[in-house]
């Protein structure tokens, strides 16, 4: 076993420390007890990381689409020459705004930094946006509006020290499990600590809630305006703080009073019980230490930024910010959403928390980079960017480490746009994704465990992601590819990096560059990390920014503890937030509200988690969750399939009624895509409306219709090797341990199942070891294929979704040899009852087995006649009587 390597988990924004050890039989993953984010804990996704480090599906070599339309392996030189040349031609012909980058919160800070530098400083466009736009752009915008800078003022310890934690639009239990466990532990230690969950869904997170407010989707601003008005009405105000450190309180209060001045009006707007709402307001009013943590339920809205500011307003009014155990807290979704923000990975930022719209900021950055140009206006935000590709304004896009054909709203439009796009470059670790299907150039990137750099978690903690595996094939770091293109454009000096430590150092120097009260003061300051050599960088322990230099220690470690904000007036701003309903209202055609989100054990578009058998067991299939009464009204039944349609697209998913959903709401998980299911991209259904300030899409509110999806048959197939599925009406692929599971459904009648099954599995040999069962008149068919004594595949089909459990069958795939009991149970889907095993047959006429006979002898049958009376054995042809006599003679009386 190799030496342990300390690194950071690549999933949510919690940023847990992970210790990886490479052993002969796989990779051992454990939580890093020394990491402050998790202190050794890991969630199930993190624990299963080892299972995702498999070669399956990896993109190993650069590929270029040839004249015949297929992607062909090529050399890095050829691929990069092609990319640099093609981009250059488009820029020269159509200007820098005709090209764009769409990057990802999965990238490391160093990758992000080089991308941003290349695009903004050398291409001269701000057309670089990231999938973080889909995740926490509203939080960023809210922070900037209120604080003058994208600063998260709360740490995980504050969550534990709070007396009230309000979780808004956050299924923390599933999406930030370790953070949730920290809250659970804190509440166990201090039972007086209160938890309020504000979420239309009764998620797993509500388990620890003292109060759950299932508000009507999209009404958060009413709720927090109401809170602001309530606090003001009841004198829960910190007048000194408001007076000295904020501006705009009067206007914000006026809007709150006018729109949410009475608890009853708010209760009605939010469709919450008045007494529950009052209880929440009172609890908030009387609790000094309160953290309001929010996530996608707040951000992913056409009023996302206002939702964030309506929350921040309440903390500003009460002065509950900048002190232990309190503050507004954006829980980010991705491992490095925060790091990307720090280096300006969004089209609306420059770098190091400097802005595009301020000439002084632009000058500072351009001077630092010594770059030929700098854009003067923001670039296209994610949704706009793909619109611009669709209408031809943007002619080339480089997509890095993300899967927009799945994850963007109105995702079918993304497909259409990419199909038209002149040049689509995709750098990824996986060869076949819904997005790589549209690539002209594929560049193999390093995956987690191979790449090397830093990430920043939700509490501004910078941690190293370290490599512990060699690069497979010709995979390279993302920053390297970008730097190589920069060099090909003649900027060798600017992109002469030999490792991530040099990039990080440059980034750290930029955060400190001109960061004085006289020039452009920013809270983000990594001066203390400047000048690290490779060894120091490698040894870097997790650290929260700011990290001031020895002498320049002007920034307190707790943001706003000094009452200083980063607006021009150095004061926090109250932002008036007139509430707005979601843009698309429900109507008769689309009467329900579609909400989307994560499930516990999957991540984004499953390119990683989809590889793990362990993670596939929690929720195996795409589903649509809705209230049982809505299911009844829609005519759909739990366990069957349903069309889920909006004006933008539709999908097919399994119906469930978990009891989590209120009336008029449906939930569909975001993860499934064309690699894992025939028809399950929820992105295609989501309306493309965005928040006017942040540009973040309204993923949590699309009018939707649910209808039965009629099929003739349901089935499942477990196979040791993947099986092509294209022709089937509906399918989902689930990764198993040494097998692949497919859930199937078909609209076409199948006349000869035996032939169809052999055809599907490619079993041409008539002498193959093949077992089958058919109940033709009801349409039930089952078959199993055995090769060298091991199960190779099994198929179960029924007209109803009443198929047996897959659990026992799944276990057979790890067996080197099926025993007789396995084989007997194969087409039942379970082993025979051990008690029912009567042993080898003695009396053939009545099928009486040896065990049964011996049992009866023990039970007092000491003659052949007595046995015959009890079991009927020997009473027909009588040929077993000698054996019965022998058994009686040899069976001793029980002691």
């Amino acid at each position: 076993m190799s030496a342990p390597v300390r690194t950071t988990c690549p999933y949510c924004g919690t940023g847990c420390g992970v210790v990886a050890r490479v052993a002969a039989d796989g990779i051992a993953i454990a939580g890093d007890a020394a990491h402050p984010a998790n202190a050794g804990r890991l969630c199930v996704k993190g624990s299963a990381l080892g299972e995702t480090l498999v070669p399956d599906g990896r993109l190993l070599y650069p590929k270029l689409r040839g004249a015949d339309g297929t992607l062909q392996r090529t050399s890095w030189d050829t691929a990069l020459d092609h990319v640099a040349g093609a981009l250059r031609r488009i820029i020269d012909t159509h200007g820098p705004d005709a090209v764009a980058w769409y990057v990802s919160g999965q990238l490391l800070t160093e990758d992000y930094y080089v991308a941003n530098k290349l695009v903004k400083g050398y291409v001269g466009t701000a057309n670089i946006d990231t999938n973080s736009r889909l995740c926490m752009a509203s939080a960023v915008a809210g922070h900037q509006r209120a604080f003058g800078e994208d600063i998260v003022p709360v740490s995980y310890e504050d969550l534990e020290q709070a007396d009230l934690v309000v979780l808004v639009g956050s299924n923390t239990a599933w999406c930030h499990p370790v953070l949730y466990q920290r809250i659970v532990a804190a509440k166990a230690q201090r039972p007086q600590m209160k938890i309020v969950v504000v979420d239309p869904r009764r998620t797993a997170t509500t388990d620890i809630a003292d109060l759950h407010l299932p508000l009507r989707p999209g009404t958060d601003v009413w709720l927090f305006n109401g809170l602001l008005a309530f606090l003001h009405q009841h004198g829960v105000v910190d007048p000194a703080f408001v007076e000295r450190h904020t501006v705009g309180v009067a206007r914000a209060l006026a809007v709150a009073d006018a729109t949410a001045g009475s608890v009853r009006a708010v209760a009605s707007a939010c469709r919450i019980d008045t007494s529950a709402l009052t209880e929440f307001y009172r609890l908030f009013a009387r609790t000094e230490r309160v953290v309001t943590a929010f996530s996608m339920g707040v951000n992913q809205s056409s009023a996302g930024t206002d939702k964030v500011n309506s929350i921040i307003n309440c903390h500003l009014l009460t002065g509950r910010i900048g002190k232990p155990g309190m503050g507004p807290f954006s829980l980010t979704g991705q491992p490095n959403a925060m790091g990307g923000r720090e280096v300006g990975g969004l089209a609306t930022m420059l770098a190091a928390h400097l802005g595009l719209d301020d000439a002084r900021h632009r000058a500072l950055v351009q001077r630092f980079w010594n770059s030929p140009r700098i854009p003067t206006r923001p670039g296209l935000k994610a949704v706009e960017l793909f619109d611009a590709i669709d209408d031809g304004r943007v002619k080339a896009v480089w997509i890095m480490a993300t899967n927009p054909v799945v994850s963007l709203p109105d995702a079918d439009k993304v497909k259409r746009a990419l199909k038209k796009c002149e040049l689509v470059v995709v750098s990824d670790v996986i060869e076949h994704t819904d997005t790589t299907a549209y690539a002209h150039v594929l560049l193999p990137a390093l995956a987690w465990g191979e790449k090397d750099g830093t990430v920043t978690n939700s509490e501004r903690r910078i941690s190293r992601q370290r490599a512990f595996l060699p690069a497979p094939g010709e995979a390279r770091p993302d920053w390297w590819m970008l730097a190589e293109v920069g060099k090909r454009w003649g900027y060798a000096e600017a992109f002469r990096y030999t490792g991530p430590h040099q990039i990080f150092d440059e980034h750290a120097r930029l955060t400190a560059f001109g960061n004085t009260d006289d020039e452009v003061p920013r809270y983000l300051d990594l001066a203390g990390l400047v000048g690290m050599d490779r060894a120091a960088y490698d040894a870097l322990a997790p650290v929260c920014w700011p990290v001031a230099a020895g002498q320049a220690g002007s920034r307190p470690l707790r943001p706003f503890a000094d009452g200083r904000f980063y607006t021009p007036e150095r004061k926090a701003r109250f932002v008036p937030t007139p509430p707005r309903a979601p843009v698309h209202a429900c109507d008769d055609d689309y009467p329900l509200v579609l909400n989307t989100g994560r499930v516990r054990d999957h991540w984004h578009t499953m390119t990683r988690t989809g590889l793990s058998p362990r993670l596939a067991t929690h929720i195996a299939e795409p589903y649509v969750d809705l209230h049982p009464q809505d299911a009844l009204l829609c005519g759909v039944r739990e366990g069957e399939l349903a069309w889920v349609s909006t004006r933008w697209g539709r999908l097919v998913a399994r119906v469930r009624s978990s009891g989590e959903l209120p009336r008029r709401s449906v939930f569909v998980p975001i993860h499934w895509n064309a690699q894992y299911a025939s028809d399950a991209r929820v992105g295609a259904l989501c309306n493309p409306v965005v928040d006017p300030v942040s540009g973040e899409p309204e993923f949590k509110h699309t009018p939707v219709r649910v209808e039965p999806f009629a099929v003739r048959w349901h089935g499942f197939l477990l196979s040791r090797t993947p099986v092509p599925m294209q022709t089937l009406t509906w399918w989902t692929r689930v990764t198993g341990a040494r097998f692949v599971r497919y859930e199937l459904a078909g609209r076409e009648p199948v006349d000869d199942w035996a032939a169809c099954a052999r055809d599907m599995l490619g079993v041409g040999d008539a002498d193959a070891d093949w077992i089958e069962y058919e109940d033709r008149s009801v349409g039930v068919f089952r078959a199993a294929w055995i090769v060298d004594g091991r199960i190779a595949a099994c198929l179960f089909v029924s007209p109803r979704p009443d198929l047996p459990s897959r659990a026992w069958l799944s276990g057979l795939f790890v067996k080197e040899r099926l025993d007789d009991r396995d084989r007997i149970g194969l087409l039942v889907g379970e082993p025979p009852d051990r008690d029912a095993d009567t042993g080898p047959t003695v009396c053939a006429c009545f099928g009486v087995g040896r065990h049964a006979i011996v049992g009866a002898i023990h039970g007092g049958c000491r003659t052949v006649e007595a046995l015959g009376q009890r079991l009927r054995c020997g009473t027909n042809c009588g040929s077993c009587i000698p054996e019965l006599r022998a058994l009686i003679a040899s069976t001793r009386e029980p002691a």
Binding site: D769, I771, Y773, D775, S777, R823, P832, A844, R872, N876
Partner: protein, 437 residues
């Protein structure tokens, strides 16, 4: 007397009680002079009836048994394993001579009855022995059917019915090589298996297009054929024998299509014919066999009963052991004077007693209107199962290779149990239907 209710329909304790009543009545009867019961036929049906009778009341009759064969009563079903060498003669003897003596029964073995004088109530044997009866039980069984073709009477042509036939075959097996079995039914296949085990070169010729067509559907019959061929038994189907060839002794067979094969031994196993000549001579009403009522009494003479393969009950004749055991039970009850049982025909199941080849068949396995099939195949294991359902009940079953659940299926069929709830598991057997009815 309360015995209008069939006793076996009563719950256990009540049955005990009734039996007690019966016994006391038996004691009362024993005060009367013993009557004479003569049994014609020392085979399984007759002796089983005697056995049942002795169990009920040994004091009613003086019993005399006449048998054509020189042996005591033996288990004819086990002639196949006897031929195959899987059982010895001792193993198949049900009642040796000593048993008759011990039970006070007079046995005249090897001396068949040739005439019945119903007026004088006596029977006359081939040796001229006469025996008077108060009750007469006919259990004359059946004889093998010999197809009427030229050469059928040649030496070397045998049936498969009695110990003598087995001895003839064993002799042939020691000295001759080529055996042909005419008839691909249960008995023919058992004979073929036995002869193969005895080292002969065996061919089964069958007039139909599949083996055991009365018990098996086509897939099961095909599996059976493959299994037999794997054991080196040749199978000729659609082979209709036109003549048995040979001058002093059998030398071969010719079929109607002109094909010929060689043979040193020909075993005829194409069916049986009930032995009814004696009954006809005595003027008893016979159709295909001796017609009896539900008490096994002949229609013509209330003193005369009949059981076994020589019997016709309603339209049916009998060749399998299960209904004959039931006849014996019913008949014995009536002979004992209890009169509380009635013979009811029930479905029968068939099993092939060829070691290593397990075949089970029962009921309406052929399917038809309104029936539904559940079919299981495991070719590698040589397992085939077909269950036939009608109106939620199991009405037929063909099992090949794995017959362990045959008896259970048969029981479900007999009880007409509603199996709809078990439908998805039924074919996989009782072990998967733990909460089965």
């Amino acid at each position: 007397m309360t015995t209008a209710i069939p006793a076996r329909a009563l719950p256990g304790p009540m049955r005990e009680h009734l039996t007690g009543v019966d016994r006391r009545m038996g004691e009362a009867a024993s005060a009367r002079p013993r009557q004479r019961l003569v049994v014609v036929g020392n085979g399984m049906a007759g002796m089983r009836t005697v056995e049942e009778l002795l169990k009920l009341d040994a004091s009613v009759y003086d019993i005399t048994v006449f048998g054509a064969e020189p042996h005591g009563n033996y288990n004819r079903i086990l002639l196949s394993p006897l031929l195959a060498g899987e059982k010895r003669l001792d193993d198949i003897m049900l009642h040796p001579h000593a048993w008759y003596a011990a039970n006070g029964i007079t046995l005249h073995a090897g001396d068949p009855i040739v005439a019945i004088d119903r007026t004088r109530r006596i029977v006359i044997s081939r040796s001229g022995r006469k025996a008077a009866y108060d009750r007469l039980l006919l259990a004359t069984g059946s004889r093998p059917f010999v197809i009427p073709v030229p050469g059928a009477d040649l030496p070397g042509v045998v049936a498969f019915r009695a110990i003598e036939d087995v001895e003839a075959m064993l002799t042939a097996a020691r000295t001759r090589r080529k055996a042909v079995v005419i008839g691909g039914g249960l008995l023919g296949l058992e004979a073929a298996h036995g002869l193969k085990r005895r080292g002969m070169d065996v061919t089964v010729v069958h007039v139909m297009d599949r083996l055991m067509e009365r018990q098996l559907d086509a897939p099961a019959a095909a599996l059976l054929r493959e299994a037999l061929e794997r054991r080196g038994i040749r199978v000729l189907l659609k082979a209709d024998t036109a003549a048995i060839l040979g001058r002093d002794r059998v030398a071969g067979l010719r079929f109607k299509d002109g094909r010929e094969i060689e043979a040193d031994l020909v075993v005829m196993a194409v069916g049986i014919r009930p032995n009814v000549e004696l009954a006809r001579q005595a003027g008893l009403y016979c159709e295909r066999a001796i017609v009896v009522d539900d008490t096994l009494q002949t229609l013509s003479d209330p003193r005369i009963y009949a059981v076994g393969e020589c019997v016709q009950h309603r339209k049916a004749t009998f060749g399998l052991v299960a209904p004959i055991w039931e006849q014996a039970r019913v008949c014995a009850a009536h002979l004992a004077g209890y009169g509380h049982r009635r013979f009811v025909q029930t479905a029968t199941a068939t099993q092939l007693k060829v070691s290593g080849i397990d075949v089970f068949s029962a009921g309406e396995f052929g399917g038809g209107d309104g029936t539904e099939d559940l079919v299981f195949r495991d070719a590698r294991r040589g397992t085939y199962k077909r269950l036939v359902l009608k109106d939620g009940c199991l009405v037929g079953a063909v099992l090949y290779g794995d017959v362990g659940d045959g008896a259970w299926y048969f029981e479900l069929m007999r009880r007409r149990a509603d199996v709809s709830r078990l439908r998805s598991r039924l074919v996989f057997g009782r072990a998967f239907c733990a909460d089965a009815p």
